[in-house]
């Protein structure tokens, strides 16, 4: 499986990474090699084999609907790189 530099740029955009031309040139052959290695899974006949997403198949893990204290707002906001008294602040999402 050959992964082109164009594909690397596309995947990087999906992952919200901006890669330099140098990084793209470096990653394309490495990803080709790694994904190429993973191609061996294509040899197996896996008809009717259910996928395992988790070794411990627990579903619907509920707790009692009782409120407990979470992080206080000021404590949570103290972790943010930019905040006002009440909110996390980010660059403008919409123009104008």
């Amino acid at each position: 499986m050959k992964i082109s530099e164009e594909t690397v740029r596309h995947v990087a955009a999906l992952a919200r990474l901006s890669l330099s031309d140098e990084e793209v040139a470096h990653l394309a052959p490495q990803l080709s090699e790694i994904i190429g290695y993973a191609e061996q899974l294509q040899q197996l006949n896996l008809d009717d084999v259910a996928p395992t997403s988790h070794s411990l198949a627990r579903t619907n893990v509920f707790r009692e609907d009782e409120p407990w204290p979470g992080l206080a707002r000021d404590v949570a906001l103290a972790c943010a790189p930019d905040s006002t008294d009440e909110y996390v602040r980010v660059p403008a999402v919409l123009e104008g």
Binding site: I3, T7, V8, V11, A12, L14, A15, R16, L17, S18, L19, E23, L27, Q30, L31, E33, I34, I35, Y37, A38, Q40, L41, Q42, L44, L46, V49, A50, P51, T52, S53, H54, S55, L56, R58, V61, R63, L71, V75, A76, A78, C79, A80, P81, D82, V88, V90, P91, A92, V93
Partner: protein
């Protein structure tokens, strides 16, 4: 250099032959003396540790790990103590809460000394992917300590702390334990809460101890095990008394020897040491049977699709908004991209890219879903094998510790090193690495034992029996080349 086990420290404290502050002072001295060479710690919290130990000096012995110094891998959140995951993106992150394991160890009256180095976000097998520093193998400082929990392994091997916690997603406790000549345990998935563990691949990650003896591993596992309602994947499973079960011996137990490992390039000395260990267990009364794991050869390919897929999803949270580093950007999207591109190192980017690719439209079925199906096959292999035996043995790693720099530019070669450790994560099984010898170059070799789901008791019993019967003590590391 004299080093002590958790058990010895507890016995001395209980008899009032020593005080908690003396052990903390000794540990801090060892760190001061050796860590400039070894590089195990990212943060040493010396003042607070001493303060805490001195407070314990005045108290009656109470708590399972009363006065015992320890370290945590720096992807385990500690309240008011920097937790970086060895990443620039979390370089100055100070968590406002404790991981459940940190809370539980604090409740046993242990003394936290600091946070240890790792591959960034636990992605690596040599600790060379840390954004901050190299960690060196105490047995040969020109070699890697293994990874990703290389700092915790090296800290215990060098005698800086009697135990440390790490996390194991594809071998990140067992492989460095093997390389550094200490005991490393990955519990059954769900045995130990992951709350507060910085997520890498959530269906595989599990926290466990590094110690100088199997018995110490049982002590520490006891302290950190059990259901936690803050982690929905932690299991409401009874926690047996791991320490009491240690002395039962192996008479009548069936040890499963995995056939066909030759194709994975096992070093002759590793093979010989593991063979000798199996003989020791046989002499102690165990029965040896052969077992076959036909899908073992697909484990690395399976893992390096599933783990990066989960990682690419988990690491989406690092966007410069709520915590961690933020880079400048004209728009929100540009800020995200700049933050992530500056904040993540190359291996993390590589894994995010593999994972995003494997999950992207048109490739999902061919890669991610297929890997999940092979994961089912690997699990079934173990179910079959455990019908024939109680414990499976394999080498922990195909080779001993490799030289620093040898594999950094060859990610696939680095990944292939995990062949024997990955299967336990994919299946969720408990697995233990115990030192079983030293190579002609003086490098430690690890014996890996795997047991049935939730059967850490048998795993530890076999490990302990072997350790008692193996007829040698691990030589202390040289801390030099």
């Amino acid at each position: 250099m004299s080093v002590h086990t958790v058990k010895e420290i507890l016995a001395s404290l209980r008899r009032k032959e020593s005080k908690p502050s003396e052990w903390t002072e000794t540990a801090l001295r060892m760190i001061e003396q050796h860590d400039p060479t070894i590089g195990a710690f990212l943060t040493v919290d010396g003042e607070r540790a001493l303060e805490r130990a001195r407070r314990l000096d005045g108290e009656a012995f109470d708590g399972a790990l009363f006065g015992v110094p320890y370290a945590l891998k720096d992807n385990i959140c500690t309240r008011n103590l920097k937790t970086t995951a060895a990443s620039r993106i979390l370089e100055s992150y100070i968590p406002p809460y404790d991981a459940t394991v940190a809370q539980r160890l604090a409740a046993t009256q242990g003394v936290l000394l600091g946070k240890t180095n790792l591959d960034e976000f636990a992605m690596g097998s040599s600790t060379e992917n840390s954004a901050f520093q190299l960690t060196r193998n105490p047995y040969d400082v020109k070699r890697v300590p293994g990874g990703s929990s290389g700092g915790s392994a090296a800290a215990v091997a060098a005698g800086m702390v009697p135990f440390a916690l790490g996390s194991d997603t594809g071998g990140s406790i067992r492989q460095p334990a093997s390389f550094c000549g200490v005991v490393g345990l990955k519990p059954t998935y769900g045995r130990v809460s992951r709350y507060g563990l910085i997520a890498f691949a959530s269906s595989l990650d599990q926290i466990g101890p590094f110690t100088r003896s199997v018995e110490d591993a049982a002590f520490v596992l006891q302290a950190i095990s059990g259901h936690d309602e803050r982690d929905s994947t932690s299991a409401p499973q009874d926690v047996p008394d791991f320490v009491r079960g240690l002395e039962g011996g192996v008479k009548g137990l069936r040890i499963g020897l995995v056939t066909g490992l030759d194709e994975h390039g096992v070093d002759a000395e590793v093979q010989a040491a593991v063979g000798k260990a199996v003989q020791t267990l046989q002499d102690a009364g165990a029965e040896v049977v052969e077992v076959h794991l036909p899908h073992l050869r697909y484990a690395v390919a399976t893992y390096y699709l599933i783990a990066p897929a989960e990682a690419s999803s988990n690491l989406a949270r690092y966007d410069g908004v709520r915590y961690g580093r933020r880079a400048a950007g004209q728009s929100l999207a540009e800020m995200y991209e700049n933050t992530r591109s500056e904040g993540f190192g190359m291996e993390v980017k590589r894994r995010i890219m593999i994972g995003t690719y494997a999950l992207s439209s048109g490739y999902y079925d061919a890669y991610y879903r297929r890997a999940q199906q092979v994961r089912t096959r690997i699990r079934e292999d173990f179910e079959q094998a455990f019908k024939r035996c109680d414990v499976i043995v394999m080498p922990t790693t195909p080779t001993t510790a490799f030289p620093l720099g040898e594999k950094v530019d060859n990610p696939l070669q680095m990944y292939l090193n995990d062949i024997f450790t990955i299967p336990a994560n994919l299946a969720g099984l408990p697995a233990l690495s115990v030192p079983c010898g030293v190579s002609s170059e003086g490098l430690p070799i690890g014996l890996q034992l795997l047991a049935h789901w939730w059967d850490e008791a048998t795993l530890l019993r076999v490990g302990h029996t072997y350790e008692q019967a193996r007829g040698f003590a691990m030589p202390l590391p040289r801390m030099g080349a």
